[in-house]
Symmetry: C2
Subunit: 213 residues, 2 copies
């Protein structure tokens, strides 16, 4: 099955959105918690959160300015802080529901049945039901000229994990033990099953498993 550049350009807009969104592979599923300067809370699901670096600990996300997370972007600009909360198996339908176009005055927490909570005096609300939550301070905001989306980069300044056992002795987090889900395309949710961890690869050595499941 082949789609040429010409084929892609000719596709129906919705079909293309589904197809192209599926092509990057599996994606993270995160809820972004924010509050505006008047204290109004907002929550939106984002599938574009990605790792940028460990030292300093930087994490990025792409937000389309006219899409549902626009209130999220406005709030981040106002307060400089937001939370990232892993979506897990118990809350993925509620998480997806945050993508509905609620009015600015409506709190998605209340509308979808998730609980906001505040930790260590951070300005933005966390999702209580999430088992992996982070506080993020905005470090950089830029408009990508190619398609006018916003690249938001922040620094991870606080990490909360429900299960201490989820962190292995070398620092790796076992996302399965936190029930974290993966997204594909616009709307397909998945749990993951481990194939195992692989050792650091070296040119003169065959690949080995750190553990074998």
């Amino acid at each position: 099955m082949n789609y040429s550049k010409h084929d892609i350009a000719q596709l129906d807009e919705r079909f293309r959105a589904q197809l192209i969104n599926s092509l990057s592979g599996f994606k993270s599923a995160n809820l972004i918690g924010t509050k505006d300067k008047d204290g109004l809370e907002n929550l939106s699901i984002v599938s574009s959160v990605f790792h940028i670096g460990s030292n300093p600990p930087l994490i990025g996300m792409i937000i389309r300015p006219h899409s549902v997370p626009r209130h999220t972007l406005e709030n981040i600009k106002q307060t400089g802080g937001y939370t990232i909360n892993h979506v897990n198996r118990e809350i993925f339908t509620a998480a997806h529901q945050t993508s509905a176009r609620y009015e600015k005055e409506q709190s998605e927490f209340k509308e979808v049945g998730l609980t906001s909570c505040y930790l260590n005096n951070f300005i933005a609300p966390y999702v209580l039901e999430s088992k992996c939550k982070m506080a993020i301070e905005l470090r950089s905001l830029q408009t990508l000229e190619l398609n006018q989306t916003e690249l938001v980069i922040g620094e991870i300044v606080d990490i909360h994990l429900d299960d201490k056992q989820a962190v292995t002795s070398d620092g790796h987090i076992d996302l399965n033990s936190l029930d974290t889900v993966a997204l594909s395309g616009l709307d397909a949710y998945h749990t993951a099953e481990s194939l195992g961890r692989l050792k650091y690869a070296k040119p003169d050595q065959d690949i080995e498993f750190l553990d074998k499941k």
Copy 2:
């Protein structure tokens, strides 16, 4: 379990790399195929490929300039083209092995036992064993000032899928049918199990499954 900003700064470098790399959630696993101006092929696994937009079809990735994919970056600068190939269950150990620090003269294709192939006269090599392959033309390259990593953005100009059935009637690609794997952290590979697809969310409507697995 809580890691404060202070705790994060104090962590051992390798522990922090494992921890922070795990925090964004599940990641895509892709092989990037390139060729330099003299025809020398290169292949490297990248976990930072992410969706940027559907129209035009844009896809991004983060590359650390001094890391193993540095040859990839050099080749992309030289030729302006690269391929993205989904890592699947049959090839994930070989894919991981491309992260070893081979010399510039060594082809990772040969070293790890994957097969390069050329399709529709595109300049960069594909991975024959991958079931979802794309040709990408470089559109933008920038250094992120916060940590000197490179943000590479390209346009998807050709798509090859092994299984026609993988594309559903609305354009969504069933990644499970292509055996595409997900990554977490630096080295943990996973297959995915579908929880189902959810309908487009509306404020006044309960969430519904498009399909229920």
